[in-house]
Amino acid sequence: MSAAPLLEVDGLRMHFFTKAGVVKAVDDVSFRVDRGQILGLVGESGSGKSMTGYSILGLVDPPGRIVEGRIVFDGTDLTRLDPAGWRAIRGNRIAMIFQDPMMTLNPVLRIDTQIVEAVLAHADVSRESALARAREALVRVGIASPDERLRAYPHQFSGGMRQRVAIAIALVNGPDLIIADEPTTALDVTIQGQILFEMQKLCRESGTALVWITHDLSVIAGLADEVCVMYAGRLVESGPVADVLERPLHPYSRGLIDSVPSRNERGRPLHQIPGMTPSLLSLGPGCPFRERCDSANGACRESPAITEPQPGRRLRCYHPAA
């Protein structure tokens, strides 16, 4: 790792102040992403992984608010950015790809309008050169006959094609960082494979860093360099993807990995983690996973701190698996 990472999230806490109480959607999350690196952010629904992504881009709406922590992007603390600063960064240096390709494109605007708009929002170029960039971006994400496609409306595209267009919009301004919020969850596995392949290639070629938010460990396994596992708003384990998947230290990571059905276990009942994700509203002190954990004991009533059991790996647990 280089001395100054592209993105450093340090002790981020983002809470929702609802009438029913404070929801600690993101509770002490730290990680760093270097240029050209792919970071996987894994967790169940409601683990705060998407909210971490939204926080990075300053997209958290009231009653949500970042209460603590820094998000340093290339030397700038994003939590202190003014609207003008955001305009310079959003869609330009940090882009985002959303989950549902059916929804991310405006149904009433043509593809060319939407991509050109993205270019013109950040670059002072003529409409013609913006269109040329739009065309180039479509080619880069593997869309055949881009000229014809540029004049089409989103409803004339399949789900996979729409997601490619969404990725093209994210790429068109040559961002340093892309945050992808489960962009392949709504797609077929074959299409998902193609998109993962393209994304990996694009990141390697252009040096763009990628934060890939997903609940799907198998996606992370093939795509990411580093992985962060989140549970109930907290980061529970992180490290190089091969290490974490080979030898998970946190009982929750182990449970997640065991929950992925594999061919070897055919005939045997599938593994599952007992219990349910706790409500973030009623979360008391202590390890949020202790109710579902086999190795939990009295010590888990106190929240475990982040430790570094091995170089490059971090863990929030008193009972790391051997």
């Binding site: 405006n106 009433v108 605007l109 004339q156």
Partner: protein, 309 residues
Amino acid sequence: MADAEGTGTAAAAATGGAAAIGPWARFRAEFAESRLAMVGLALLAAIVVLGLLAPVISPQNPYDLAQLDVMDSKLAPGEESATGKTYWLGTDDQGRDMLSGILYGLRISLGVGITSTVFALAIGLFFGLLAAYFGGWTDTLVMRVVDIQLSFPAILIALVLLAVLGQGVGKIVVALVTVQWAYYARTVRSAALVERQKEYVEAARVLALGRARIVFRHLLPNCLPPLIVVATVQVAHAIALEATLSFLGLGLPITEPSLGLLISNGFQYLLSGKYWISFYPGIALLLTIMSINLVADQLRDVLNPRLRR
């Protein structure tokens, strides 16, 4: 809405072409599925043409008092006057040719209806979008004003306004706009609240597009389908309201015959057998409103994604 456009997607995908069947062509085909709506559309087109051409085709200019002859008053339809003119729909108590009066009346009714709808739509659209996009106290303020206004009957507000403003075409348009903008504001707000939750708005924010651009370029066009339907129905309402106000003597001055005024003129003769003074303008008003409503009904069916096959 996008996922409901199955036929278009399939057709476009099959040919691989971008515009195998455009949205406009599909819209026309779906609209034409209803015979009744096509009849309504044809009728409406005829009424609009007649209204527009009123100065050219009507036998008499009802505004020009010099052309009126009191001797010809209250002639029955088809009766010939002393000077040899035939009044096909009869004359009213001032000797005005009813056919001319109706044609000019249509012109005013449609003009008032459409103008007030356009202005009310623009104002309602603006405030509705504002309320939906910014939320918070902007939303509260706009929507409470709308609620207060909608809690009064439209006719009451218009009556009070006209009593203060006086008579005239411009004033009746002002009154109708004041009455109607609230409907649009409410419709736009509810449509925009749904739309702004969609990811494309979030995606536009991520691109750091300006607020005005997000609201008017991204939100607005997606809120239009329900508005087009409401606007069409409201044209008919506006025409009916204008006729009512004129009938009550508060709308247009006697020198500018609108349909409501003509009906009002003949009202007192209705029971004395001179039915035509009220009857024919009434039929014209009925046909106008009915044709607009037929078109509006079909528009609603075509533009409502839930009713799509």
